[in-house]
């Protein structure tokens, strides 16, 4: 019997010839990601850090992104504590406020190396599955323990296989696909499972794959992963990662799956996740014309150059509706710089969009863009939980960047297929 991606990779990393679902294995992850919560993490192990130090100064990747630039004295102090910790322990992989959202930075800086394991004290750490990485979220306490010991345990997951084929029609993208899947299998449909994407993936760009893998956790998955193919290798080359510097892993043809699903990208329609759960998914046609007061384009799900390009192309020479605040947050400084160079930021700002610095802030109600009671926000983020954007009487709707951009222009939910994008 063949093995799944998770079974193969966890066996390799645990130094075992084979592992089975349900088995507990001890592994040493290749990297540990933490962000603004690093301050709270190191606060738990102050004495131990003084006595034993960190296990490996190259293990940690620390990116300040959740509340940047600092919103108040408390968050400013957190950032300061983290900078001092980085210096004291000579940590090499530190990215200060403004560099970008941790998941985008990890990918851009070449840490997401196929065939490796990355754990992070952030639930969307699963994003790197787009590049053949076994990556998953952990809590702060586990991150603290990892800083000291470098090792942790995993239960080998069962796996779900999702077969993809075809190409998206104009106005539809990977966000619509992943919301459709979550609507079908629900928010716990992949609980404790490893989700593998198979089939003809030529219609799925690296950006599409990151969007889909990013939302693996919204279906409950431990990790979500794509094979390393020409598209992946092309991207990795573009960030100067040489092909002989990684060893990709993929499932055997005859591996055993708990469940199999099939989607044709050409049949995917624009959808929206309604309040207050990500699996409350409906076709856009059910909500067309609904007035919105805020639109958000950005986050680790959809803040990449292609997403900004779509909005800029649409809004060039046009105006954002005067009834809407349209917030645009590029996912990283590299993306912001490129969007500036290409004139996208100018187009968006001229149209009336509010350009925010790269970071996470509004997505979790931590910083900027907070909603008022009774307001509705259409967002490219990955969560629409009650209170998520700082107000429990507000409503968050999730959609693709295409839908957000078109709707920001019209002041109401608008089907992007009706516009030439």
């Amino acid at each position: 019997m063949g093995k799944t991606f998770a079974e193969k990779l966890l066996a390799r990393k645990a130094g075992l010839s084979e592992v089975k679902p349900g088995q507990i294995v001890t592994v040493r992850p290749d990297h540990l990601l933490t962000h603004d919560n690093t301050a709270a993490i190191i606060g738990k192990i102050k004495d131990e850090l003084d006595e034993f130090g960190v296990i490996d100064p190259e293990l940690s990747i620390i990116v300040l992104d959740h509340v940047v630039p600092a919103a108040n004295e408390k968050t400013a102090t957190n950032h300061k504590v983290i900078r001092e910790f980085v210096k004291k322990h000579s940590l090499v992989n530190f990215y200060d406020a403004g560099e970008g959202i941790c998941h985008q930075v990890v990918i851009e800086k070449g840490f997401a190396r196929p065939g490796t394991i990355i754990v992070g004290s952030d639930s969307h750490t699963c994003s790197y599955g787009a590049l053949g990485v076994f990556s998953t979220g952990i809590d702060r306490t586990e991150a603290a323990s990892l800083m000291l010991t470098g090792e942790t345990w995993f239960k080998v997951p069962r796996s779900i296989k999702i077969n993809l084929s075809g190409k998206f029609v104009s106005g539809v993208s990977a966000k619509d696909l992943v919301l459709t899947i979550i609507g079908d299998i629900r928010a716990d449909g992949a609980n404790y499972n490893s989700v593998e994407f198979h089939g003809d993936l030529s219609g799925m760009s690296i950006e599409d794959r990151i969007t889909v893998a990013n939302m693996g956790v919204e279906m409950g998955a431990k990790n979500a992963v794509f094979p390393v193919d020409e598209i992946t290798r092309g991207y990795l080359e573009s960030i100067n990662m040489e092909a002989d510097s990684y060893e990709a892993v993929w499932a055997d043809e005859d591996a055993e799956y708990y469940q199999e699903l099939t989607y044709n990208l050409g049949e995917v329609e624009p959808v929206i996740a309604k309040p207050h759960t990500v699996d409350n998914v409906t076709k856009i046609t059910d909500l067309e014309g609904m007035k919105i007061q805020q639109c958000l384009l950005g986050t680790c799900t959809n803040g990449r150059l292609v997403d900004i390009e779509k909005a800029a192309t649409l809004l060039k020479g046009q105006k954002v509706s005067s009834d809407v605040r349209f917030l645009v947050l590029p996912a990283s400084r590299a993306i912001l710089n490129e969007a500036l160079r290409l004139g996208y930021i100018e187009s968006l700002s001229m149209a009336g969009a509010i350009i925010l610095p790269p970071g996470c802030g509004p997505c979790l109600g931590a910083h900027m863009g907070v909603l008022a009671p009774g307001e509705k926000c259409l967002s490219t983020a990955n969560r629409n939980f009650k209170g998520r954007m700082g107000c429990k009487e507000a409503e968050i709707y999730l959609s693709s960047p295409e839908t957000v951009a078109v709707s920001a222009m019209h002041g109401e939910v608008t089907d992007p297929r009706k516009v030439n994008m």
């Binding site: 507990i24 603004d36 919560n37 709270a40 606060g43 738990k44 192990i45 131990e48 034993f52 959740h66 509340v67 108040n72 408390k74 968050t75 957190n78 992070g120 004290s121 952030d122 639930s123 750490t125 979220g137 952990i138 809590d139 702060r140 306490t141 586990e142 603290a144 323990s145 000291l148 010991t149 345990w153 928010a187 716990d188 609980n191 404790y192 956790v217 409950g220 431990k222 759960t277 699996d279 979790l364 109600g365 931590a366 969560r383 939980f385 009650k386 209170g387 998520r388 700082g390 429990k392």
Partner: protein
């Protein structure tokens, strides 16, 4: 051990924002800071009314969403004896082991327990007795129990580090 305290009963998909709002994630880290905001957007009466030994009952996918550990840390700190749910989201499940909070996955018990039920827990043998009726739940593997029984992951890690040092 009979349950003389309250039962707090909630539905499906109780997410981490309901258990502990994201807007406090970077300003509240200690148990004392977390306690007043526990379940704030789900049940405003919880933080004031909860007592040591209380039990939370919930539907499927309890704790879904963010990786923030404040819900697990806070529920342990206010003395929740156990959460009994139909299923859990995995990061919350892991965080609870790491905090030493007892989670029981038992759909049958969730359906049986009423607000005024008497609930007895036999953790070692995986038995819940609800108004005299016994139902069983799966116990954890030894490797994982070692974390919980050592008072959570950090205590366990400290012991391991000390043991290595003395070798």
């Amino acid at each position: 051990m009979a349950n003389e305290n309250q039962i707090w009963k909630y539905g499906d998909d109780i997410n981490t924002d309901m258990l502990f709002p994201g807007k406090y994630t970077y300003t509240c880290s200690t148990a004392e800071e977390i306690k007043p905001h526990l379940l704030e957007d789900l049940d405003p009466l919880f933080a004031q009314g909860v007592q040591r030994g209380d039990i939370i009952i919930a539907g499927k996918n309890f704790g879904c969403g963010s990786s923030r550990e404040q819900p697990a840390l806070g529920l342990r700190a206010v003395g929740i004896k156990a959460v009994i749910a139909k299923s859990y989201a995995r990061i919350f499940y892991r965080a609870s082991i790491n905090q030493g909070l007892l989670l029981i996955e038992c759909p049958e018990a969730v359906d049986l327990i009423q607000d005024n039920s008497t609930v007895e827990l036999d953790i070692e043998n995986g038995i819940i007795t609800i108004d005299g009726k016994e139902v069983t739940f799966p116990t954890l593997p030894e490797e994982i129990l070692a974390i919980r029984d050592n008072g959570g992951l950090l205590n366990y890690t400290r012991k391991k580090l000390r043991a290595r040092q003395t070798k």
